[in-house]
């Protein structure tokens, strides 16, 4: 995946972070979405280690040793931000105060199932906060490359790996497309610039429903 395809995906996901939202960005790729949210857009960024109002990455030499985000990076606290303990942090999550979370995926399915924490026999480092984020945020977006490093689809009809949460995903952003999970299946909403419908169908492990007329690009 070229840098520009990745940046386009991040920028596309950032467009869905609307003014006034309280948002949690998962560790890794999703965290980088914030770089594409205009700094004057009023957004409250939650980090599950106990911040509402993450400012951004701390400038070199300006790091506060007690102020990190859940991924371990030194961050700042935005004006209006607050700190709290882990029980309050997850009360905010489970209590339905998160308008949106963007998470990574090992696999995501056409029925909205998400698998992103364990690959039995290969990777099992613990679930962290992913289950509660996936299950309780009002809206869940998945941010992932369309295929794995071997070219296999990561979007499937049903997940093969143990689930993080059932039927939780609303929208999938990849380097090739934006897809929405709907009751009748997976809808192709947008194509990345320069990517064809045939290429996306080829790289997707589930049937895609496509509306009549030209597919918008991002």
């Amino acid at each position: 995946m070229s840098l520009s395809a990745k940046d386009r995906m991040l920028a596309r996901a950032a467009r869905d972070i609307e003014p006034g939202m309280t948002v949690n960005l998962g560790i890794g790729l999703p965290t980088q979405v914030m770089n594409f949210v205009p700094s004057d857009r009023p957004v409250c960024l939650h980090s599950e280690n106990g911040i509402a109002g993450v400012g951004g990455l701390a400038a070199a030499g300006q790091a506060n040793r007690n102020l990190i985000d859940a991924g371990g990076g030194y961050v700042t606290c935005a004006p209006g931000g607050s700190f709290f303990d882990s029980a309050v942090s997850f009360a905010l999550v489970r209590g339905g105060r998160l308008d949106l979370t963007l998470l990574g995926a090992f696999e995501v399915a056409a029925n909205g199932d998400l698998a992103n924490w364990i690959i039995p026999g290969k990777f099992a480092a613990g679930v962290g906060g992913a289950i509660e984020l996936a299950q309780k945020a009002k809206r869940v977006g998945v941010l992932t490359t369309h295929t794995d490093k071997h070219g296999n689809p990561k979007i499937l009809e049903r997940c093969t790996l143990p689930l993080t949460a059932m039927g939780c995903v609303h929208r999938i952003y990849t380097d090739m497309a934006v897809c929405d999970v709907m009751p009748d299946g997976l809808h192709l909403m947008e194509l990345a610039e320069g990517v064809t419908l045939a290429e996306v169908r080829d790289a997707t492990g589930a049937p895609l429903i496509v509306a009549d007329g030209p597919v918008p690009t991002f």
Partner: protein, 230 residues
């Protein structure tokens, strides 16, 4: 009316922890991890410990000192992804690891500190983490019973304390510390600064002193606390 002075020598406080104890340790990554108390625990050397902590720190620091010293039988945690040594020991069967969803870990500790036996929730329903859990019917819906997690000892890190044991935390160093401080039979707090009574106003207190049994002064703030910027 006067109050007790709970300051205790670090070695005396930690020497109470016997073989087989259940020990909660605060911290989420580096912030809030009581490294000096952990270092003293290694020096004291009890075996067969059950450690309850959000994460296993990183190789060569904090929880990893206990793992390397062979003191840990069981680790109850939300993830150990940043400590390859913990992953290796788990896969080799040298330690037992119980993974708990992060917010469930926090809440199970919180309710223990609140004198309750557990709570019901739908978190993890339909996933591996629900397997083996007791089911509870409430108004015709099925939930999972999440038992309280209590401990014999809690080791916590505070930014400031008064001599009675009122604590304040700084920024994201708060995390599990105030929850664990409430959930153990005996809570030992290390504090970067200890002030006289009155030095922390009643409205500023994050953890009230009655939850604290021993208060330990930190003679130094070693590099592991992140004083030196990475």
């Amino acid at each position: 009316m006067s109050v007790l002075n709970k300051t205790t020598a670090m070695a005396d406080a930690i020497a109470q922890i016997p073989d087989g104890a259940r020990v909660m340790i605060g911290g989420f990554g580096v912030p809030g991890t009581p490294f000096l108390l952990i270092r003293e625990l290694v020096r004291h050397g009890p075996k067969g410990l059950t450690i309850i902590k959000n994460d296993a720190n990183e190789p060569g620091m904090g929880i990893d000192w206990l793992l390397q010293a062979g003191m840990v039988k069981r680790l109850i945690t939300s993830h150990v992804g940043l400590n390859g040594n913990a992953v290796r020991m788990m896969n080799a069967g040298e330690i037992e690891v119980e993974f708990v969803a992060q917010g469930m870990l926090a809440e199970r500790i919180r309710v223990a500190g609140a004198g309750l036996r557990g709570f019901v929730s739908d978190i993890g329903m339909g996933t591996l983490l629900a397997e083996g859990k007791q089911r509870v019917e409430v108004d015709g819906e099925t939930f999972l019973f999440e038992p309280a997690i209590e401990a014999d000892f809690a080791l916590v890190h505070a930014a400031r304390a008064d001599t009675f044991g009122n604590l304040t935390y700084e920024a994201t160093a708060r995390n599990f510390n105030p929850l664990m401080a409430m959930a153990a039979e005996c809570t030992i707090a290390e504090a970067e600064t200890i002030v006289p009574i009155g030095g922390i106003g009643p409205d500023e207190v994050h953890t009230p002193a009655p939850f604290i049994d021993h208060l330990v002064a930190m003679p130094e703030l070693p590099e592991v606390y992140g004083v030196v910027k990475r």
